[in-house]
Assembly symmetry: C2
Homo-oligomer: 461 residues x 2
């Protein structure tokens, strides 16, 4: 459908540009319907920079979506191979799994061979916005990371923009002056792109080329509607490093760059931590709003403990739920394999569901209109022992059914008034339905008594 | 060791009794050491009722632990069979898995056959306090739940007290007057014991026998130091039912019963919900403190969404972390099988780790002394690429190692400066170590320049 929409567009083609000119694009109208929001509100939020619609004009099979505080909380799933493992088919399978389970955007973080053809296959198969980290490809094209030039980097970004990538993580905010702030950290710089930029700056004794060439970057973005995801190169990689000088120094620069991007009609979101103790999460959300002028905040977790490798989807879903409740617009998932290895398809599944939970819990806690409807429907089905409907309303219907069927697989049990957890005699919901009837009888009895008493009193009067 | 400790004790043998008399029991001293707290503080907190040490005098292989706001946040794992599945060997295996992974207490919720021998086997094997829900056994001994008498119930409780059970969930706070408050709920009464008590009251048109016989119950408790876990029969079973009139009406009664228990030197904790949206959790913790006089709060999750069957350990770990941060003293785990079937050993593992994460995140957020030490050590090992130490410091070392080894099993990779997630070229930690050296060189160079400049200036002066 988007082929028609984008046909006549030329020059500056960003949603921000159109919104500011008062044009209601098909993308805005589409998003408004999905979000059950008035189209004018979507247009206003996009114009204000508080909402983005990552929608490269070349990604025509995209079904547009919105990221911003007025929209429901979104989640991103990272896929992509590394030099050590995986190929194109497997990455497309991961994409499909992620989208099927509800990922709102997908980032292709491939760093290995065939990076270009993997991206092409993913874009062709994806109805959701695709994000990338272009420095990963740029690095593959040079011998040493320090051989990179600004032209190399911008060349790769432009190439990917033409391919149809919807948003790119760019590490523009890490400046030379900030590097000494990281040396006393426990885990230093944990952003891959950030570490590479740091290495480059120290080697060349020059400022960050993406910072000094930011205007050239913006020119690429506005020509294709490539959205910027301003990377937090100095995000904390451990609880101890959270909310430090380095992190906030970079965040301030991201705020300045946001304003410059908006001046050129380029859509922007801001990336956030990482590893943050629970009691610092609300403060981090507030700080971003303040320093980055309410540009949508896109956070990675954060993990609320460092001691759970193998279960970091859970550790980080706790932080993500808190972040979403406190105003983050998109939550980047973390899989059980984080810190241990490249996620496979099952890891993608675990990560996506953990984050669907976090985002939904955030929507419920923010009292978004209708956010709790699905919970209420599922709970009604639960009380009615309608097992098939419970499965259908679940975030992962297949897994829910599998688990139920482990002990009671026969179809007859799909209407049974119990499951194997309590067995028939101890099912509280079953007993409660008898309680409900008894309460009704009790009340009827009481009403009868009252009627008789009233009659007596009237007779006596 | 406890055999010696309890030898001379007779009459009222509760820790609360001793604490009030100014006696420092071996249990208090033991707990103080575990918690790294001054023994006097433990004694004072126990005397105040703000901390309990569930330690039945007959459970002599117990290693005492404490539940209360001054202690670290604890977790409980539920095991136990149902009429539909599982036996004694499997339940002892689940116990061992739970304890090995760090469950602080274990509840045996068996409701099927051989309930007595399963409990005996569990107690004999358990170094952690064992809790039960005695009504499950009482019910097995009668034809219909409504045949139960107060004597039956108290008889079973006394029997279990003599066996060595450390704490019991008793549904004393659900009163007849509260039942009509539940009929408009989506999920009614979801506590198994609560639903049975409701059924009993409606059938007999009488008040809750555990409420009317509460003093007899206290007499049993003080003779064996059986701690009470006052059950929340009217806890919400869905987001929609959270924080309603019924829930808080019962909570108020639990507060009254707490005072009566304290008068008789009986240790008490209060059970809490269930299903609660994130934005109501802090309020629920506050309400309990107020209505129940700061008796330790022992919460079940709570789940922050209803739509994740198959992943309720995650949904509820989010709520549990928030609850712990806001003052809950113990978190009752929920496994992935919740709402679907009886948990097996792998479900126990998933549940325990999810809750270890939640409790630890709460301790970190509360700034408990030393709470973050293990996180910092693991993060240092991570930065140093000491994979074996990372595994050792993990909550589940075996699982962490398995996941790492899926792609890089060879022992050589245990010191490799990368994993399969990013591969050798893209490991930020690896690059960062070069950054650190370069920053140091830069700073040395700058210092040298400054020295020269100073020399020039001094020479010129």
């Amino acid at each position: 459908m988007r082929k028609e929409w984008v046909k006549g567009r030329a020059g500056v083609v960003t949603q921000l540009h159109y919104a500011r000119k008062g044009k209601m694009t098909e993308e805005m109208a589409f998003v408004a319907k999905r979000e059950k929001l008035p189209p004018e509100l979507v247009q206003n939020e996009v114009a204000r920079g508080r909402m983005i619609i990552p929608a490269n004009v070349h990604h025509t099979n995209l079904e547009p979506m919105a990221i911003g505080i007025a929209a429901s909380c979104k989640i991103n799933a990272n896929i992509g191979n590394s030099a050590v493992s995986s190929g194109s088919d497997e990455e497309v399978r991961k994409l499909k799994t992620a989208v099927k389970l509800g990922a709102d955007t997908v980032m292709d973080l491939s760093t290995g061979k065939n990076i270009d053809s993997i991206r092409e296959a993913i874009l062709a198969a994806s109805p959701v916005p695709i994000g990338t980290v272009p420095i990963y490809q740029a690095i593959e094209q040079v011998k040493k990371p320090t051989d990179l030039t600004a032209d190399d980097l911008l060349g790769v970004i432009e190439h990917q923009a033409r391919q149809g990538v919807d948003y790119v993580t760019v590490h523009c905010g890490i400046l030379r002056a900030f590097l000494p702030m990281t040396v006393k950290r426990i885990t230093g710089i944990v952003s891959r792109g950030g570490a590479l930029m740091a290495q480059w700056m120290l080697h060349h004794e020059k400022e960050n080329p993406l910072y000094t060439n930011f205007d050239r970057l913006l020119d690429i973005c506005r020509a294709h509607d490539l959205s910027l995801s301003l990377g937090d190169s100095l995000r904390p990689g451990s609880l101890a490093d959270a909310s430090d000088e380095a992190q906030f120094a970079e965040l301030k620069v991201l705020g300045e760059l946001t304003k410059r991007a908006w001046e050129k009609d380029v859509q922007v979101m801001i990336e956030g931590p990482g590893h943050v103790p629970m009691d610092q999460i609300a403060m981090n959300m507030e700080k971003e709003r303040e320093l980055c002028h309410e540009a949508p905040f896109y956070v990675l977790g954060p993990l609320v403990t460092d001691i759970a490798p193998g279960y970091d989807h859970i550790t980080s879903a706790i932080g993500a739920a808190l972040a979403g409740w406190n105003g983050a617009s998109m939550l980047c998932y973390v899989t059980p394999k984080e810190h241990l290895g490249l996620p496979d398809e099952e890891d993608v599944r675990q990560g996506v569901i953990a984050y669907k939970i976090a985002a939904h819990a955030a929507d419920v806690a923010r009292h978004r209109l209708g956010a709790r409807d699905r919970d209420d429907s599922l709970s009604r089905a639960r009380y009615a022992f309608d097992w098939n409907r419970q499965f259908a309303l679940s975030l992962d219907p297949e897994r829910a059914r599998e688990m139920h069927d482990e002990t009671l697989p026969q179809e007859g049990f799909k209407t049974a008034e119990f499951c194997s957890m309590c067995g028939p005699k101890f099912c509280s919901m079953h007993v409660d339905q008898e309680v409900r009837e008894a309460v009704a009888r009790d009340e009827a009895k009481q009403a009868e008594k009252n009627r008789e008493k009233l009659k007596e009193m009237t007779a006596g009067a």
